[in-house]
Amino acid sequence: MPQLPSPSFALSKHTLDNGLRVVLAPDRSAPVVGIAVLYDVGFRSEPEGRTGFAHLFEHLMFQGSAHLEKLEHFRYVQSSGGTFNGSTHPDYTDYFEALPANALERGLFLEADRMRSPRITEENLANQLEVVKNEIRVNVLNRPYGGFPWIYLPGVLFDTFANAHNGYGGFEDLENATVADAQDFFARFYTPANAVLAVAGDLDEDEALALIDKHFADIPSRPAPSRPSFAEPPLTQSRRSTHDDPHAPIPAVAVGWRVPDPHGAPDDYLGAVLLAELLTSGDASRLQRRLVQEEQLVTDVVTYLGEFGDPLDERDPTVFTLTAHFPDAGALDRILDAVDAELADLAQHGLADGELDRVRTRLGSELLRQLDAVLNRTLELAKFELVHGRAELVNELPALIAAVGEQDVRAAAVALSPDRRAVLELVAGGAR
């Protein structure tokens, strides 16, 4: 088995007087930089009656700021030769740019300007409300399997509003959002002390720090909100529900299990991460072989941790999810039985020779591959610092994965028992 190389990206961490945490990672191999600002608020923190608000607010952060008219943020990034975006996650919201290195200061200014004061107006809110509704139409309402399972499974698996609600939002809640809501949300959650700024790529550390100080240090300090625990214990009895999809031509299923706290029980958690790889990553994996190739019960099957497939994107609680599409609407119980049988086999008899090695090797090489693009690296650094308090994980993760043993994987398989799972069946209402 090949030796898995560990990355050794240089990085340093700093905190400004207003509480903004900063991660710098110089790498001068290409004349490009990545800038990311992550705020410690995601859709789990939005209030009842305001589903989808964290995401709607993300849109408002692009609508102009202290010194910038509407449209100027986009134009300044792109006319510098760069790209931008933002996204809303369960536990955080990110804003980011990839830029030629000569636009570093400009990029820092743009992020600082909206951390200082975004331009939240009635007109911008009304416009972005329509844009977000169209985003939901194109990604959820007007397509087969739209939002499946991330919008619908949490409602079966979890009990509290924070974990169970639709993070994209219902149209009625979105339409009820006001400018005052947005101002309150900004004042409460978008404080420098509630954010991490990461900058990576072609930069000199001292120069970059001076520029960050110049643009961010005088943003007034406001306390970071205290974040409640959203933890929910594992289920003790299985749950089952259905979701009607008017466009889907064939049924699908999503099975979710609450999994160990990534912080409280990191070994158990990484065991579950490796288990997901063993089950469905590649044609040699257990469930691809059993469900797709041998028994031909499903057309595809995937397993993953984290709402959107990134296992280290969330704090407790997070989810182990299995999804599959299957042509025979009567086959669901056979599929679930086969999954149970495979997990039981793994728990009782362990792994085949070389099985864990090859999966760890591939996962380690995939992690390295994701770090090649400067923007991905920047986002990973910021995420590891914000969610786990440890940007260094960018270098440490491969070794942690290499240390996961067979016992950890077997324990993870034991934990995915039938009585702890939530099953959501997608009922296909579309034409075949």
Binding site: R137, L141, T361, R369
Partner: protein, 441 residues
Amino acid sequence: MTASPVPPLTEPRSPSELRLAERTTSTGLRVVAVRRPAVPLVELRLRIPFLSAEPGHPARADLLSDSILTGTADRDRAALAAAVQALGAGLDVGLDADRLQVSGNVLATELPELLGLISTVLDGAAYPDREVDTERSRLVERLTIARSRPGVVAAEALSSRMWGHHPYAVDLPQPEEVQQTAAAELREAHRRFVRPDGCVLVVVGDVDPERVLDQVEQSLGSWAGAGPAVDVPPLPTPVPRPLLVINRPGSVQSSLRMGRPALPRCDERYPALQLANMIFGGYFSSRWTENLREDKGYTYGPHSRLDHHSLGSVLSFDVEVATDVTAPAVLETYYELGRIATLPVTDREVEDVRQYAIGTLALSTATQAGLASTLASLAGVGLGAEWLVEHPRRLKEVTVADVSSAAADFFRPAALTSVVVGDAESITERLAGLVPVETQA
């Protein structure tokens, strides 16, 4: 007036020159290897011409692409996948309008081993009957799922309307054709088409380029022969026709697709057309996006793009708009098309997209994967790595008049082929008040 608080750009830094080696092997395979040691990995792209006008070819091509990794003379499907995974590697096979592409990535130290596994596939993919049966059923289901998406239906209709009976008219095979395709036909198609003469292999990563050329020659040496001569006629010129309305009852959005022939990357007017397209709808700060999304809120985002195929390039437009604003969105789209086709663009617009085009080319080729994909697609239309240096230079020389002239020639709304998929009952009458329409149930 106070000075802008927005910091100016500092002196740009140039990327370092590529360390590249290139060779055409004795079997006719063109190999391009580039050193890019940022992470200890290697990316590879092998492009195999696969275009044909033979009846049943689209179904054979898709099923072959799905089945090629399901077993070789020595390894069954799971054993092959396990061997790839043990190298820290990934291997995928995909298909576009012109070719089959094998994409891989691997720990740099294991490149020779991955090349060896790829060689066993190119030389000895077995297409076991049982595996092909599995993949055939899966492909039929996937095609059904694809066609339940309105954007896929609209894109298929546009290709068909633009290209008539030409092979480019077919985006996806029909399920009935797939059902009738036997494993033996795949073995025959593999024997005829999967041949090195005329193929390009690009390898980018933490490697010594010269050594890679030797490794490839050694590993793929037994793979020989040439594919069949291309039997495909030139692309026809689309004839403008009314806007085609395809009914999707109850659709909460309408999917508009438009297209027309464009210029290839080697054309001297291409840089001007590229910039005109960005100004129109090719980036977020475009006129179309600022109007339809940021002013009107009709859509999550419109996009226009230039795609390059071996027989011709295409300028295309796509947008999904809320059902009740379909006609107003088409009106604004025609307004923006007419405006850019009849009035000059501005200096500021051209400067903005010039920087965007140069900057994003540098960003997209700053990774191993991005550089490998870009070099492979350039090679597919006969262009080499020097294009990455020469093209920014050409972009710098484009004038406002060049861009206005390209816009006048390529964005005239009357010359576009257009289709819309949506709830016909809600949208047709108002659309028919704007442009000639034709309906299809």
